[in-house]
Amino acid sequence: MVPLSYYLVLSGILFACGVAGFLIKRNIITIFMSIELMLNGVNLSFVAFAAHWKVLAGQIFVFFILVVAAAEAAVGLAIIIAIYRTRETLNVDQVNLLKL
């Protein structure tokens, strides 16, 4: 038997790692992966709360977050490909102008 708070602490650590990666990393693909890490941390807390209060809706929400993450990955990676095609770089520090 694991207390609910342990799951929440783990989910908080994963979310914090995601935030730190989002701020520290300079490669746009790695920044995008940090966002996925944050979504995973949130998913864990959803499932833990669902099991704790015996409400199945929490797992349904995880399903929807998964769908949104898949859509986001498809569109985001397409945007990354478009950025690379026009600027030939993946470093976010060099992508700082709206016009070419």
């Binding site: 038997m1 694991v2 207390p3 609910l4 708070s5 342990y6 799951y7 929440l8 602490v9 783990l10 908080g12 994963l14 914090a16 790692c17 995601g18 730190a20 990666g21 701020l23 520290i24 990393k25 300079r26 490669n27 693909i29 790695t30 995008f32 992966m33 940090s34 996925e36 890490l37 995973n40 998913n43 864990l44 499932v47 833990a48 099991a51 199945l56 809706a57 797992q59 349904i60 995880v62 399903f63 998964l66 769908v67 949104v68 993450a69 898949a70 859509a71 986001e72 990955a73 498809a74 569109v75 990676l77 397409a78 990354i80 490909i81 478009a82 095609r85 993946l90 470093n91 520090d93």
Partner: protein, 177 residues
């Protein structure tokens, strides 16, 4: 006395945290992607401990399978190399790492202190595909249909964004030029 459940939780949690930290430390994006896959597999184990079989299967199939394959594919397509450190990233490390430690310590302290800390039993909730499907197609039918529209828009957006840009008014270029 440590129960088997707690032991498994600690093992999977340790793998997840180690993978998350490794994602931050690695400089090459392909290494970060592989450690993110490890995080997702460990989280699938945590979901099984919580009795959410369907979500665990989805985690492996959709996240670790489909989404991460897309990531790895794009990394290889763009031939992404090691990222170089810039002054902006040094400042971010200077503030980001202590901020992350402080934030997770604060969250851990608050959660451990102010929670009832009742234990979550193994399989306390039947998260089988049958029950999930019944809920999804009765109570959550409208959100389900809306997500299908979202997926459709995402497909079209991805195709439009990733296709070769053409100048407005001119016919699309031949592929072999």
């Amino acid at each position: 006395m440590i129960s088997v459940h707690l032991l498994l939780f600690l093992a999977f949690g340790g793998v997840a945290v180690a993978g998350a930290v490794n994602l931050l430390v690695q400089r090459h994006p392909i290494n970060s992607a592989l450690s993110l896959i490890a995080v997702m597999a460990a989280l699938a184990g945590e979901y099984l401990l919580l009795g959410a079989e369907f979500v665990a299967a989805l985690q492996v199939i959709v996240y670790a399978g489909a989404i991460m394959v897309l990531f790895v594919f794009v990394i290889m397509l763009l031939n992404a190399g090691e990222e170089e450190r810039t002054s902006g990233s040094r400042v971010a490390i200077l503030f980001g790492v202590p901020g992350m430690l402080l934030g997770s310590l604060l969250v851990a302290w608050v959660v451990l202190r102010h929670s009832g800390t009742e234990a979550v039993a193994v399989g306390a909730l039947p998260g089988s595909p049958k029950t999930i499907g019944q809920m999804l197609f009765h109570e959550f039918l409208l959100p389900f249909e809306v997500t299908s529209i979202l997926i459709l828009i995402a497909i079209m957006g991805a195709v439009v964004l990733a296709s070769k840009p053409t100048v407005a008014g001119s016919p699309p270029k031949k592929v072999n030029d």
